[in-house]
């Protein structure tokens, strides 16, 4: 437990918020705080200025031209999960939200903050162990440590920390866009480019400049998502991060072949994992258990495992097969 003197500033406008953080290299935005306050208390992050963005007018949900939805960055997870337009157009996203954390946390946590959620890797969070994500160049304790929960896809020699978000898995499958306002103006970032794999800079998780604030998430019109699903597998029935989760949205044509497929995985990747290889392997073919299994094999062909987490590969493949079999039947 670490407690440090800190300056707290509640921003009244987006411009004030951006200006305040931009002006101080040791500052950070504070949204719902459900992860950030933990990390402050654990001494994992050590800003000297917190700029509270909770008062900003960013809690809206609105339709966009073309039938998509724009979600304000400060919209609370629980509100988004139950919003009729989300439930109708993207049921898998609503399910992902409702399977994350607990109702109390979802009432506080914001959508923008969720995009910046940090890993649950115990070595990152202990504030002490060698960890390249927390302290670049110090090494990765998880590589040879207790790593049952760690990632098998998108890893590097420097980091195998799992991305913890559920709703981000849905958003990568839906090709959402992150909208930001920063010191250099507005920006839009396709969501898959927003989550950076660790490679040799695990401490850099997003392509955001210091002071660049997420203001909205655009979810495009994706008709197939109206039948999307999110299933989350975990040791405990509720209130736990995923061992493996699967978002899927699939359309089968009259000939019985997969015409459209959006597939993404949680719990297995260093980033919310869009299963492009599996999607490509199945498009144009019938979603038979054999074809789905081959697609899942393709997705995990480059998986890198440890003795403690290698079960996740088999687990995830079986979870994909089950999910797509159920969706197609």
């Amino acid at each position: 437990m670490a407690m440090r003197p800190i300056t707290f500033f509640r921003a009244g406008s987006i411009d004030d918020a951006v200006a305040a953080v931009s002006a101080n290299p040791d500052s950070a935005f504070l949204a719902g705080g459900t992860t950030e306050i933990d990390l402050l208390r654990l001494g994992v992050i050590q800003p000297t200025l917190l700029v509270d963005v909770n008062e900003l007018p960013l809690t809206y949900l609105e339709d966009t031209e073309g039938g998509g939805v724009r979600i304000g960055a400060m919209a609370r997870m629980s509100d988004v999960a139950r919003a009729p337009r989300i439930v109708e157009r993207y049921p898998g996203m609503s399910q992902a939200l409702l399977l994350g954390a607990s109702e109390q946390l979802r009432n506080m946590a914001s959508m923008g903050g969720n995009m910046c959620q940090r890993t649950r890797c115990a070595y990152f969070r202990d504030g002490q162990s060698p960890c390249n994500k927390r302290e670049p160049g110090s090494g990765c304790s998880a590589l040879t440590g207790v790593n049952r929960g760690h990632a098998v896809l998108g890893t590097s020699d420097h980091c195998i920390a799992t991305h913890p978000s559920d709703v981000a898995v849905a958003l990568v499958a839906l090709d959402a866009t992150i909208r930001t306002i920063g010191p250099d103006g507005t920006n839009t970032i396709p969501i898959e480019r927003f989550f950076l794999r660790p490679e040799d800079t695990p401490s850099v998780e997003h392509p955001l400049a210091h002071g660049e604030l997420i203001v909205a998430i655009d979810v495009p019109n994706v008709p197939v998502a109206r039948t999307s699903r999110y299933v989350k597998h975990r040791d405990r029935v509720s209130y736990e991060f995923a061992l493996v989760s699967v978002f899927s949205a699939m359309r089968v044509d009259d000939a019985g072949n997969v015409a459209e497929l959006r597939l993404a995985l949680g719990g297995v990747g260093t980033v919310p994992w869009r299963a492009h290889r599996a999607e490509e392997a199945l498009i144009g073919r019938p979603a038979t258990p054999e074809n789905v299994a081959a697609a899942a094999d393709a997705e995990f062909a480059d998986a890198r495992t440890t003795p403690m987490n290698e079960f996740k590969v088999t687990f995830a493949k079986r979870a994909i097969v089950r999910e797509l079999s159920e969706v197609s039947s």
Binding site: M1, S129, S141, G145, D235, R236, L243, R318
Partner: protein, 749 residues
């Protein structure tokens, strides 16, 4: 029949708890209160080279910093003895900050005291501590080659080796043998309230508000470590947010709080953080168990050999026993139980929810299930057939009930219709199975004389007192019932006081002995006072009861009446007022039977579980549980059911969720919070039923109440594992039975 005893009354402390008016030990506010925070070592083996306090002291608000350089030396070295024995009860034979050596990760190396908790935390983070460290040995895997057989456990209180007959010979001649090895992950207690102590000195007098399972053990231990008289220490605890064994022994933070308060000359509150609660009050050790069982073709056990290997600290031969139940509940002439230890860089492990019994019974009861299949016998019949009327010394049970629990449970659970074939019942993605296990938990008479006081005022109201701590199990309620029953008064005129060393002694409520000890002392105090009042009345020529034999007087609702003519009588209040007595009081005491009481002493039970196992993903979901128990007299069935249900849930937790391991590189526990160290949430809790089988016990105390604190956990995990086998055809030799263990076919075996 008593109008109060045995009734399912609500908790008397419920309103205080739900309205927040009950004060826990970390909520005691004193003038000038300072806040202490322990700084734990960030290496597991080595020494503190230097501690630079400059930045910490400059942070402001710091009243003092204790390190090994200025911490007072303890007056007497701690010696580990279980608190149930009534001696000083340090959790380990080691006290930190006496020199620069670091034995385990998280070992206290400093205590920072400041004017706020936040200030203490800030200053603690600014302490610049350097260490010399060496590679720790903290896991079985690291230390296996250096294992040795322990001679005694628990500070010499119990032999580590138990042997009778010729096990090797009998195994060789058995028609059927089982030989299995198991691996069990470490467990942590995780009560909602972590350990917390508020310490205040007034001249030489020390008052501690300590979150504890026994105020007397705290008083004895701290007095011995500080070298001050018992009369100078008062320990108070009115509300405790759970213990589960973590507050059964007295850990260093309690004495450190007293030392810190003396150092800064202010009252100090010292609370363990959640991560510190994983490194400050012991744990259930990682362990490996091996069992060999021999049986004849007709299903009689011929030999049991059960051995355990675990890591202990550098200062104590500690192992939770792996033999106490398995050597007794089935008759077996040839038995060997042994404990092997590895000295490593951990703190001394400790009592953790059904210590020993839960895991030894997992080993034994899953082996019994294997044996039932080998013999093609029903597992209930196999158990009943082998459960003898006497213990291994030939002593009859003080009360039994095991067979009745198994049979009653079989009826309630629908066991008769069960097809024993494994792996054939499907329900969607799940394979479904059912399992059974026996449960037993010892009644241990190692405590000293227990005492309580009863007092009645001349308006008819009463106070009953004993030193016991209420740590969530219902002591205040159950003992109010016992006191009201013994005195013959209504609950609403009686106040029960507890949790203070100024009150008559009872020993720490540990080892499932709390209800037996406390109820015996309270009952005797109440009946002593009642008898005193009745004697007074029949000898008082102004009393309508004058001249009656005391045996012809009974007491109801505070009124003494003739059993010969109920219209004749008077109230306690009338008697006292007429005689110009403001009150009358009595001490009652209960001397437990000796350790060598010629009886087998256990609370018996039976556990049943139904599970669904995801056939692809290996996830086990418990669908229903049934526990049937024979605890003798039930003081309050509502509280008893809650406690047994809680025990069964801890069994579910141990079976499927709970497990920690030490990171081999650093020697640090890998999990240190409730986000990752998993215990069940409501969604995991299936349909759970608790039932009782009535047995009379006139050995265990005047009321015949045996313990129920822990037997609810014993056998629960084994019943789940046996159900997993019935569902899948795969045996589980590893706990917790996580997805990969089930997917990969069962683990260690």
């Amino acid at each position: 029949m008593s109008p109060v005893l045995g009734k399912p009354l609500n908790r008397v402390d419920g309103p205080d708890k739900v309205t927040g008016t009950g004060r826990y030990c970390g909520e005691i506010v004193l003038p000038g209160l300072a806040y202490g925070l322990i700084v734990g070592a960030s290496v597991a083996s080595g020494r503190v080279v230097s501690i630079d306090e400059t930045a910490a002291r400059a942070a402001g608000g710091v009243y003092g910093i204790l390190t090994h350089e200025n911490t007072p030396k303890v007056a007497n070295a701690p010696v580990l003895i279980p608190s149930l024995a009534g001696n000083p009860a340090p959790g380990m034979s080691f006290f930190p900050m006496q020199d620069d050596t670091v034995h385990y990760w998280g070992q206290p190396v400093a205590v920072v005291v400041a004017d706020s908790l936040e200030g203490a935390a800030h200053a603690a983070a600014l302490l610049d501590i350097t260490y010399e460290s060496s590679t720790p040995v903290a896991t079985i895997e690291d230390g296996r080659a250096a294992a040795y057989e322990a001679k005694t456990l628990f500070g010499g209180l119990m032999p580590a080796h138990d042997e009778r007959g010729d096990v090797a010979g009998a195994l060789a001649k058995s028609d059927v043998t089982i030989d299995q090895t198991y691996h069990y992950a470490a467990n942590h207690h995780n009560p909602l309230e972590t350990g917390v102590t508020t310490a205040q000195w007034d001249s030489d007098q020390l008052t501690l508000w300590n979150s504890t399972m026994g105020v007397r053990a705290d008083q004895l231990t701290v007095a011995r470590l500080l070298g001050i008289p018992l009369s100078d220490i008062r320990v108070i605890t009115h509300y405790v947010g759970g213990g589960f064994g973590s507050k059964a022994m007295v850990w260093p933070h309690v004495t450190l709080a007293a030392m810190a308060a003396r150092h800064v000359r202010r009252p100090v509150r010292l609370a363990l953080t959640r991560p510190q609660s994983f490194t400050s009050n012991g744990h259930r050790e990682e362990q490996e168990q091996r069992i060999r069982v021999g049986a004849s073709r007709d299903g009689m056990l011929t030999a049991i050999r059960q051995e355990k290997l675990a890591v202990t600290s550098h200062f104590d031969d500690w192992a939770e026993p792996a033999t106490g139940v398995s050597s007794e509940i089935y008759g077996c002439a040839n038995y060997l139980g042994a404990h092997h230890l590895i000295r490593g860089n951990t703190m001394t492990a400790t009592f953790t929810r059904a210590p020993g019994e839960s895991l030894e019974s997992f080993t034994l009861e899953t082996a019994m299930d294997r044996l039932a299949y080998e013999l093609d016998m029903d597992p209930i019949e196999l158990r009943v057939k082998n459960h003898p009327p006497v213990d291994s010394h030939g002593n009859p049970w003080s009360s039994d009930g095991l067979a009745e629990c198994l049979r009653r449970g079989a009826d309630l659970f629908g066991w008769a219709d069960r097809d024993p074939t494994p792996g054939v019942r499907e329900d969607g993605h799940y394979l479904v199975g059912t399992g059974v296990a026996a449960a037993a938990y010892p009644v241990a008479f190692m405590m000293p004389v227990q005492r309580a006081r009863a007092r009645i005022f001349n308006d008819g109201s009463a106070v009953v007192q004993t030193g016991a701590a209420e740590f969530g199990i219902g002591v205040l309620t159950a003992m109010s019932q016992v006191g009201a029953d013994a005195l013959g008064v209504d609950m609403d005129v009686l106040r029960f006081e507890a949790g203070d060393t100024d009150l008559p002694n009872t020993t720490s409520a540990v080892g499932s002995m709390g209800a037996t000890m406390q109820s015996s002392a309270v009952h005797n105090a109440g009946t002593t006072l009642r008898n005193q009042l009745v004697a007074h009345a029949v000898n008082d020529d102004k009393s309508p009861l004058h001249g009656l034999a005391t045996r012809d007087v009974r007491v109801e609702s505070g009124r003494m009446v003739s059993t010969l003519d109920p219209s004749i009588g008077e109230s306690y209040a009338d008697l006292l007022q007429r005689n110009r007595l403001l009150d009358m009081e009595a001490l009652g005491s209960w001397t437990p039977p000796p350790l060598d009481t010629p009886h087998g002493l256990f609370t018996f039970g039976a556990q049943f579980a139904e599970v669904g196992v995801d056939k692809d993903l290996g996830l086990v979901r418990v669908r229903r549980m049934l526990g049937v128990f024979a605890p003798g007299r039930v003081l309050n069935p509502k509280l008893a059911r809650s406690q047994l249900l809680g025990g069964m849930l801890w069994g579910l937790s141990q079976a499927l969720l709970e497990g920690n391991q030490i990171d081999r590189q650093s020697g640090r526990w890998a999990l240190n919070n409730l986000g990752e160290y998993l215990v069940p949430v409501h969604a995991d809790v299936p349909d759970i039923q608790v039932e009782f089988v009535e047995v009379d016990d006139d050995v265990v105390g005047p009321l015949g109440a045996k313990g129920i604190g822990e037997v609810g956990q014993v056998g629960a995990a084994a019943a789940i594992a046996n159900a997993v086998f019935h569902a899948t055809g795969r045996r589980m030799n590893e706990l917790p039975m996580t997805a990969e263990v089930v997917m990969n076919g069962g683990g260690a075996g």
